[in-house]
Symmetry: C2
């Protein structure tokens, strides 16, 4: 019932890009260092994100990666689906899967569908812009805490 490191690292990398949106291309190395992720592993993940049209790349010196859209237009669900596959707690609730034979099983299927819907609601209603705001909020709290010492 866990999101794997693919999803975790992917979201963190995308948030990193979002927080530096408008500052030109960010190199893989920079993201990997800031986020403490293996550079080569991150390369594989970001390749998937590029193919999915969520980031664009600039090759050559001073190159790097950029968000392909505004942070407010990239949903966390898009990132997770790209890196982890369909958001489905059970095979039988994935798209174009034949319904099962046994009626009893389909009662559980209704449950898995509800679970799926609730997960998609959270992940598709949160965008990178939301996480940027949240980050600023947390930073502000952090700073005020430091002044108290």
């Amino acid at each position: 019932m866990r999101i794997s490191t693919r999803g975790e690292y992917g979201v963190r990398a995308m948030l990193d890009l979002a927080l530096h949106h408008g500052q030109g291309p960010i190199s893989l190395k920079t993201i990997a260092e800031r986020q403490d992720i293996s550079e080569h592993y991150l390369e594989q993940l970001i390749a998937s994100l590029r193919k999915a049209g969520l980031v664009t790349s600039v090759r050559g010196a001073q190159g790097g990666y950029l968000l392909a859209k505004e942070p407010s237009e990239i949903r966390i669900g898009d990132i997770i689906r790209t890196l982890e596959g369909p958001i489905a707690p059970m095979e039988c609730v994935e798209e174009d899967h034949d319904s099962c034979v046994k009626v009893e099983r389909c009662a559980t299927r209704v449950l898995w569908q509800k679970l799926q819907a609730s997960m998609e609601k959270v992940l598709d209603n949160t965008t990178l812009a939301c996480l940027c705001e949240e980050t600023l909020r947390l930073k502000a709290k952090d700073d005020s805490f430091m002044y108290h010492i």
Copy 2:
């Protein structure tokens, strides 16, 4: 992002017991055949459910398993937590886990907490009794469909 077969089979087996609640102990073999699950594998799962106090066993000939409580008192969340561990999409939102160092990461943590809450809400608001009702509803539909032919 999938529930494994442990959770899937466990819920199916428990629903099977719930649908035959009050009919005396049901043998492992019967459940395994009805639910099309490997008997030895199911044995392991049901052993965990027994230790968690969700089922009781009756040994010897004509023995088998019984729900330890009423179907309305067994939440799907209890079954999943027993067989799959804590319902947490990310390690950092499990109980008694130290918060992470980086502020940026904690912005994503807020997201994972929301996701976790939405999942627990669905799984803890559904009981075996709910699934029994759903099964009867589906059976009724199925029968009326057959009469139409």
